[in-house]
């Protein structure tokens, strides 16, 4: 493609530049109540992630990063405050609508992978598509294979998670989040278990998704180098945003 022709067609760039909020956290509190102690994981967090933004989140262990991500991914309810996705308060969603939002808008990469051990790599990656109405078995397979291709695991589709290394499992988890081509990717230390070469590749993959598809990405990382490749860096300390 000629360089001169790219500018007028750079629609993805236009999307990423627009300033409509994708995820808004308003006065979010999260308190974990156990029998003996009460842990304040998030303390009055106000945060807006715009459509098409690539944000990284850093902070010491236990400061509430995973908690933040799971609230954004609608996996848990806050103890206080409001979460808005695409301008709509999450509390107004029914159970079914919540499932649909998780399925179509969000792709989650868990810190501890959370692959289903009883399913093959391919079946694991097909999972988000399984819950998408009107996707045929053949389509599911094709999309899952394409996602596995992107993370360089085409040769391992029939393996089971227990037969894979930590890095390979991480890549399966990433492929699963990509397979449904979600608008938002929430990645909890996606490169934590990868060597620096593989880590770079995954980072390039996320950067590519962000740049070309306009995917909104929130990524937790402990790696300053990775964090500096993103548009915005948010630092957390003890349940509060510090920068």
């Amino acid at each position: 493609m000629e360089p001169t022709l790219t500018a007028p067609h750079a629609t993805a760039d236009l999307i990423s530049r627009n300033n409509t909020p994708m995820i808004r956290l308003i006065d979010i509190e999260k308190v974990y109540q156990t029998d003996t102690i009460e842990t304040v994981a998030l303390n009055r967090v106000n945060l807006t992630i715009n459509r098409g933004e690539f944000v990284s989140v850093m902070g010491p262990s236990g400061c509430g990063k995973s908690t933040l991500l799971s609230l954004m991914g609608l996996l848990d309810e806050p103890s206080g405050g409001t979460i808005e996705i695409d301008g709509r308060a999450v509390t107004s969603y029914s159970d079914k609508e919540l499932a649909r939002v998780r399925n179509q808008k969000i792709g989650f990469i868990f810190q501890s992978f959370h692959l289903i051990n009883d399913l093959s790599v391919l079946d694991n990656v097909e999972l988000p598509l399984l819950y998408r109405a009107g996707t045929s078995g053949k389509e599911r397979r094709q999309l899952a294979l394409a996602a596995l291709e992107k993370v360089g695991l085409s040769a391992r589709t029939k393996h089971f998670p227990s037969q894979l290394s930590g890095g390979q499992r991480q890549r399966v988890a990433i492929a699963r989040a990509l397979a449904g081509t979600p608008e938002i990717i929430l990645a909890d230390e996606p490169t934590g278990n990868l060597d620096s070469v593989m880590g770079e590749e995954i980072m390039d993959l996320l950067l590519g998704l962000h740049r070309h598809e306009g995917t909104t990405i929130v990524m937790v990382t402990h790696d300053e180098n990775m964090a500096h490749k993103t548009e915005r860096l948010i630092r957390f300390f003890d349940g509060s945003q510090v920068s």
Binding site: S70, L75, K96, R102, G180
Partner: protein, 417 residues
Amino acid sequence: MLLSYLKLAWKVLLRRKFFTFISLFGISFTLMVLLVVVAFFDHAFGAHYPETRIDRMVFAQFLHVKFKDGGNMNTPPSYHLLDKYVRPLRTPERVAIASNFHATPSYVGNRKLDLDLRYTDANFWQILDFHFLEGKAIQEADVKAAARVAVINQATARQYFGTDHGVVGRTIAVNQLGYRVTGVVEDVPAMRLASYADVWVPITTSPDDLQKTDLNGDYLGIILAKSAEDVPAVQAEFEQAMKRVPLTDPKTMDHLDLHADKLFTAFARQLTSPLTEYKSDGMEYLVPILGGLALLFMLLPALNLVNINVSRIMERSSEIGVRKAFGATGGKLVGQFLVENIFLTLLGGVVGLVLAYIALQVISGAQLLAYAHFELNGRIFAWALLVTVFFGVLSGVYPAFKMSRLHPAQALKGSGK
């Protein structure tokens, strides 16, 4: 969606062999026992050869006499009692009287055969639906003339004559008396106590004094109602007739009980007599007791399954969390686990059915009971299927529902509280 559930269920079962084995074993063993019991029951009390019209038949076979000193006498009734008070009943289509069967020695050369011999009237052959391989039944004229004729079963024909063809007209010696064979019938299972025998001969050839007026004897009455709906009317008339039977020794005897019962209720009345004093057939006790036992019998493995399933589904809590995180609704998850469970239980059901079939074949083949042939019929199969699905739903719905209501984050942490 169903297909992918099934595919998944199959994979999960294959990958969790131990769990699958335990569950399947529980289901299929329970079902097998249940099916074998039902088959026994059906074999003994269902409409089977030669009592095919069992829905229209009642039996008068257990006489109970209560004595003034508190004593009891339980025997079969006498011929006289049945002949004088039961045979004249007007509501039944027909009344037959026959003796109970007794092992009687017979010799083929030097070999001794113990043949079960029964004395019958002619109506016996009208009420029961014997299959004749050759010849014909004992006729009214035979009974009147006390003719030495006999109907024998196929097994006896083979053992005694070495063949079951062309036996009619030949003579069989039973109790050192010669009887001319008039017919050969298919073997009757020994569990059909009212009709079974190896050799049937006219009741008038019995060495017993049929005119003896004692109440107790060695006979039974088989009564055929005009229709199944007519059975209560027959029973009502029978009860009236029994009120007119005089006690042979009013000084010592208090009263007598003889009832016209359906095949099963006759046994139920005997079984529950300590509670009912023979005044009722005892079904009001027996039905809840048997039903309760059956329910308990099914409930225990079902509860066990629920327990296994709860822990299994809890164990898969993280899977549920992942599925929810990627868009599964609670309903879909319940559906998934239900399909999985029903699939598992149906599999267990099929295995149980096969086991029951094999068990019944072995029992039939071992000839523990003479000429018994146990069958799994369509009705039993339908019941088995129903029970199986009941297991599947019961053991799957509760844990699945519980888990499907968790927040994904909770489920992912594995806290199925």
